[in-house]
Symmetry: C2
Subunit: 125 residues, 2 copies
């Protein structure tokens, strides 16, 4: 049986640069913001939430601002199939060829299904 869980709250901010948006949310929520380790992830900042807390990412996006959740799993195909059986569907939001799957709940809330993100703020400790 595969596993899954609520992984991350992603605050998508319509901005060219994730820095100012991450600075706002860092100060608003009281957790330091830091870039992710991989250069491909320049549009993201991770907030240093405690290990027991859900992860929070701030992302600079070209689409309108919104918030979405990520579901982490060790088996994306099985998790997508499970969620489809519950009434979710795959959606194309122009994500292209990425390693995660974009889905929408029965009422249209979009979310992502992906492999667990390393918690960079834990790795850095």
């Amino acid at each position: 049986m595969h596993r899954s869980r609520l992984g991350t709250i992603v605050i998508d901010c319509h901005a060219d640069d994730a820095g100012p948006a991450a600075e706002f949310w860092s100060r608003a929520l009281g957790w330091a913001a830091q870039p992710l380790a991989h250069p491909d992830d320049a549009n993201y900042r991770e907030l240093a939430t405690p290990p027991s807390e859900v992860k929070v990412l701030v992302q600079a996006v070209a689409h309108p601002s919104r918030v979405h959740v990520d579901i982490e799993t060790d088996d994306i195909d099985a998790e997508v199939a499970r969620l489809e059986a519950l009434g979710a569907r795959r959606v194309d939001v122009g994500q292209g060829d990425v390693s995660w799957v974009v889905m929408a709940d029965p009422d249209g809330n979009e979310f992502d299904v992906l492999r667990p993100l390393p918690k960079e703020t834990e790795l850095a400790r």
Copy 2:
């Protein structure tokens, strides 16, 4: 000095009834869903997240589906002033006369500032 923290992820579902939406998210995330105690809160279902986890609410709404976060505080006026100084602003989304304040971050993500919600699923244990 007042206190505040990330309190709740609210999954707003465009639906007449919160039941089916809560059932989806309950099964998707693996936490039981239950109504809140107060009859005025019939549009909400709370997921029974562990005490150490952020709260998750599913809400039936008339506006399009989206996800938003709630910031909890013991002093709403002071917290709103603090967040305004960081660049957030109060917004009118037709909320009327409610006990919380609706704000938007500098990029337009709306969120609420409110007194801490009791965790009904803890009270019920």
